[in-house]
Symmetry: C2
Subunit: 193 residues, 2 copies
DNA sequence: CTCAAAAACGAACGTTCGTGCTTTTGTACA
DNA sequence: TGTACAAAAGCACGAACGTTCGTTTTTGAG
């Protein structure tokens, strides 16, 4: 009983590769022809799994959300709510930026949110929803941790980890991770008790 | 004597429009055909000004650097070196994000640096150089202001203003500008005397 | 073993991409 | 007024884009 769901497996393989390509070239630069060539299958065969490029893009966003949850959110679920959870999430995020085995093009959300911030449509909405979910979780945990302004806290945390991604991608100097961790230390130390 | 340098004027008009398009669709999404259509001129006529798409992209990056300097750096030159200069730069940056008359797609550098962080080549290098210049100026001013770690200071300042751009573009809630200004207040208040 | 459904394929479509070549237009100066 | 030169246009090209079609291969259930 080698493979139960052959079609679903292929689809998963397509999306895994699509994630890598999109983190480098964006969701517009993600091309059906190139994706098919890399997977050694035909354009039309690949295309049939999604029916349109937009559906492929949406499926890729969904797969990115899954991978992000597995790499960043779930490892942090062992930490207690509040400040420890916030630290665990931030650590997991920064760690997965330093790990080349994840997106070869850095944070998928940094790349695609900058790409789609001005393009209305379903893809924009899907990315915005994923980011809101993440920021909402940061805000929720900041509230539990006793932050006087959880929205502001979540914004600062988001900014510094995204800034580290941006600067590391462009400048290549890993010292930005130290900067980011120091800033996170300070942010967390300002929380009550 | 209506126009002295007709060719140069056309070129400047092309680049001004290219800046707007690129801030929305990126430097890859910037297309010679579309740019020509919007300016009501022929593809080939426009193309002749640059000779290649990459030259157009590089010229656009140069024009973006000029516009950025005019909108953000020069208005801040009236403020004294150090903390006041840093505040003036940050204020000018945030103000020009709120002004729709500048890039309709938000910060040009946020959009294009995310786009090109993994594409090696001359365009990447030009963007990286412009960002390094800006961050270098922040770092220099932080040093003058007496920051114990100017590199870290510059990183934090960069992260928070870029985070404001990113969140405002995607979420649309202008409260992030308040968040950013509060964070900048705190950063500056930590500088000696 | 059969056979229908699912999956993948190959070829072609209309369009747009960047880029080259040739020709027309406009303008400054002799 | 004629000429030289820069600017813009016109036209065509090969390649790649997303998409559609009809066909072939693979697969799992009866």
């Amino acid at each position: 009983m080698a493979t139960l769901a052959k079609g679903a497996d292929t689809r998963a393989a397509i999306l895994a590769r699509a994630l890598d390509l999109a983190s480098v070239d964006g969701l517009e630069g993600l091309t059906i022809g190139r994706l098919a060539k890399e997977l050694e299958m035909s354009k039309s065969g690949l295309f049939a799994h999604f029916g349109s490029k937009q559906e492929l893009q949406l499926a890729t966003v969904g797969a990115a959300a899954e991978r992000f949850r597995a790499a960043v959110i779930e490892p942090a679920l062992g930490a207690p709510d509040g400040a420890p959870r916030l630290r665990a999430i931030a650590d997991a995020y920064l760690a997965h930026l330093e790990d080349d085995d994840y997106y070869p093009g850095g944070c998928f959300w940094a790349a695609t949110s900058a790409e789609y911030d001005d393009r209305p449509g379903a893809v924009h909405d899907a990315i915005a929803a994923a980011l809101d979910t993440w920021l909402g979780e940061l805000e929720r945990q900041a509230g539990i941790a006793g932050s006087p302004d959880p929205g502001r806290f979540a914004f600062e945390l988001y900014s510094v980890v995204m800034g580290a991604n941006s600067r590391f991608r462009m400048g290549g100097d890993p010292i930005v991770f130290t900067y980011a961790r120091d800033t996170i230390d300070r942010l967390l130390s300002e929380l009550p008790d």
